[in-house]
């Protein structure tokens, strides 16, 4: 499978944080899914993740996958957004001793990875501390 095609399919979520809300029970999903795991509903309305959340947990990656070795060490976190949605992303622009559970973060648009010297550039969301 081409990475370009997979990357392209995820653009609504990676660029615009598009989420889905089950019209039967109101449960929200990010990324959207076909069937609600709360009530089995198949009807969803489009919503958007808030761009501000709170860090629920984090870790620091020191041994990174091959295409991220130049960024290591870097922080990865799970942040909780409105409606209880939890999202995983890299925490950028942060000193590691600043990291705390509950710290406010906001979403910024960043370059996530690149496919070598000649491949596509992959963009998406990262967390940055609210200062």
């Amino acid at each position: 499978m081409s990475t370009s095609a997979r990357y392209w399919r995820e653009i609504p979520q990676r660029y615009r944080l598009e989420a889905a809300k089950c019209t039967s029970c109101g449960k929200q999903f990010f990324p959207p899914r076909l069937v609600c795991n709360g009530c089995g509903g198949r009807e969803f309305e489009a919503t958007k993740l808030s761009d501000k959340g709170k860090l629920a947990t984090y870790t620091v990656i020191r041994i990174a996958p091959s295409d991220l070795t130049q960024q290591a060490p870097y922080a990865i976190g799970i942040a909780e957004f409105d409606g209880g949605l939890r999202v995983t992303a890299q925490v950028a622009d942060v000193d590691f001793d600043e990291l705390k559970v509950g710290m406010p973060v906001r979403i910024e648009f960043r370059r996530i990875r690149e496919e070598g010297e000649a491949g596509i550039l992959c963009y998406g969301y990262k967390f940055v501390p609210v200062r």
Binding site: I11, Y15, D93, R111, I112, Y123, R131
Partner: protein, 348 residues
Amino acid sequence: MAGIIGYGAYMPRNRIKVEEIAKIWGADAPSYKKGLMLQEKSVPSPDQDTITMSVEATKYALKRAGIDPTRIGAVYVGSESHPYAVKPSGTVLAEAVGATPEAHCADFEFACKAGSAAMFVCMGLVDGGKIEYGLAVGADTSQGAPGDALEYSAAAGAASFIIGKDDGVAKVIDTYSFMTDTPDFWRRSYMHYPRHAGRFTGEPAYFKHVLGCANGMMEKVGMKPKDFAYAVFHQPNGKFPMRVGKMLGFTKEQIEPGWLSPTLGNTYSGSSPMGLTATFDVANPGDMILMVSYGSGSGSDGFVYEMTDKIDAVRDLAPKTREKLDSDKVYIDYGTYAKYRRKIRMGE
């Protein structure tokens, strides 16, 4: 005439001081600081580029504009550091802010004038009735060759403007352009760093075009320097905009609010547009503002804006440029800078 409906600016958090660069090359930091009137410059992180900064600046512009992004009919990013050689920056920006699919899109390049060129074209399309709103961005993460004078100034930042038919926060009273073929600064295909013609970049290039454009602009609208509350000029360093302003008859007080380069550096296509956002942040309704960009090669775009009552309602809806520049920063050493700017040759 068209108006600026919303505006926003973004710069990375990293800064490097002139002393830190001078130390590596055995240069005399005080003479650079005094000669170029530069103290430090912004540096992008490895995950920041013209596209990411354009998106963040545009999010701020949309907060101030308060419009549905699907009403944007043109998306133009001006930069000399588009991340791709072939593939538009504007398509990523348009997708990220929700302006697709019914929009005209193209990337602009004219050295440091590409951002104002994008603004100029959007204003024309709005005035001509072809689009309801246009999105124009000036953004760059430019590089100076290691040890070159440009390394002290080449910085990163973006400014974004939503341009529409209603007056918005600033009415565009008129525009004027001035350009000739002047080879003062260039970068050939496949070259990593630009080249420049040293002192030739001054009098026959920057000063000739900025003076020519400013004088032509003021003559076109029948105004003199004293009629403006503020003036913003392209800022390749700290010295040139102050000097050209004084040559034209503007005071330091008129120029200072938009004079970001001493602590930001030269953000190339973002330079005078970012200065304009900082000036909007402090301007009052009724204030007149002159903006003159400069792009090597060479040309200048001139704009006269009149602030409207709406500025007071929207300026606090997004971060103010000067406050962001002064408050949110972290200093890096030359080694980190070299890594971030990919100046280190890596193993295969």
